[in-house]
Symmetry: C2
Subunit: 307 residues, 2 copies
Amino acid sequence: MAQKVRIALDAMGGDFGPAVVVAGAEIALARHPDSEFVLFGDRMQIAPLVEQRLRLAAVSRVVHTDVAVRMDDKPSQALRQGRWKSSMWLALDAVKRGEADVAVSAGNTGALMAMAKFCLRTMPGIERPAIAALWPTIRGESLVLDVGASIGGDDHHLVNLAVMGSAMARVLFDLERPTVGLLNIGVEEVKGMEEVREAGTILREANLPYLDYVGFVEGDDIGKGTVDVVVTEGFAGNIALKTAEGTARQIGEYLRSAMSRTLRARIGYLLARNAFTALREKLDPRKMNGGVFLGLNGVVIKSHGGT
Amino acid sequence: MAQKVRIALDAMGGDFGPAVVVAGAEIALARHPDSEFVLFGDRMQIAPLVEQRLRLAAVSRVVHTDVAVRMDDKPSQALRQGRWKSSMWLALDAVKRGEADVAVSAGNTGALMAMAKFCLRTMPGIERPAIAALWPTIRGESLVLDVGASIGGDDHHLVNLAVMGSAMARVLFDLERPTVGLLNIGVEEVKGMEEVREAGTILREANLPYLDYVGFVEGDDIGKGTVDVVVTEGFAGNIALKTAEGTARQIGEYLRSAMSRTLRARIGYLLARNAFTALREKLDPRKMNGGVFLGLNGVVIKSHGGT
């Protein structure tokens, strides 16, 4: 895209504050030279960090505010104390006012969702927004949603997720008709998950022109890339996401210890180091984390605190 | 344990039938020389396989039946057609009659659960049995349950799972007071998951002498080994298990392709081959699969079809 992308950044979000956010903006600018940034937060902390980076400074503007949402604020607290004035709110509001194309925050997910709903409102027909994660697979990448915005949900919620997810997959993966699967467990006569089966019936019968519903998928289908869009409610989706991250980290741990156990293995490691570096990139759990909020009147990205 | 363990085997279960089951029994015997086997199924198929293996033949007995539960039978079908006479039923019945200590089947999980409930009945106070998985972690191993027997469940079901799981962990890991965590998502003000929070309150207030309830854990805590016993209902638990398996397989795939891309990497791989073999053992998804049925009057193990 040669079009300028205007990014509103909550510079105070995340576990490490402005230092990490500004460093992240620099990386984003290197990858997407057509970006422009508005950074919201404490000018005294942000401005020196931006000024050190000449290219970033040239396309950035800092908007001062004293108020920041804390990582341990409850969503209701964050709304009460941070509405109209926190760095998180101001970033969202920039999207609402059309001054930015996308708001990015590494802050408190619950607070960001509550504020985003309050500030941007949900799209017509959508009751609850969703968080979609871009999931690396053997085939490439899939979209998994919801990974934590909703807890539970009826058949209509799941159908909404399928529609929102496939709309995003069409743009992101440049597909006419993304394949969509409902996450389920392989057991026949699944009790209590009527909503998943109901959603399947609705999707099959609706036969929508812009998505290709292929049926149920299981947890191991996510990494295989069996479908472009994996649909589930936020509880199971979040547990799947976190479990995959944990497994990747665990295997990285095993690999490190296996490769340092003997001299042969250490020499082997040195020779294959480039391959390992590439692998580590792929396994980086921070790549999997975060997500895009769908169903709002405006684009909001929750980025990972450590990125 | 120097005690003899009598194993009732459903020799017809699984995707590959007796050949894999008998081969598995031979491996089990090598690891646990004090095992004895009763194999249920088609004698014509089983007997020649057993006779080829002298050590196994010496401690095995074959009980013939024509009926086998198919992998795609519904639980209700399996019960209707296979009760009293299928290889799966006869293996369970051997445990009921005290002729075997444990029944093992690689067959249809739903059918096995239905038959096990019907044949062995649940323990007093337990409404629904659970499937517990032994999960490899960075610290060692944890028990995760339920990974697919129940779908959804109220606070009392979760408390039951915590009690059953910690009883198993005490025996398996030889611990006085295993640590127990409830699987949840990290977001504050989690809506709709009152049952998880309620179960947490009950467990905290009960302060049981034989388990140490430590609070909520997230998906990535499973692989870290944060607690000895991870408690969740079967839908999320099954999705977590399958997702972890899928991630392990996916990373194995990445590793293979990374290690064969350049000559240097290939040489490095050859030098570090032993380390990779050890790693592959650890990553083997078949090690993670299957599980032990808890809450029945008798021990039933679902083994993986491919093992």
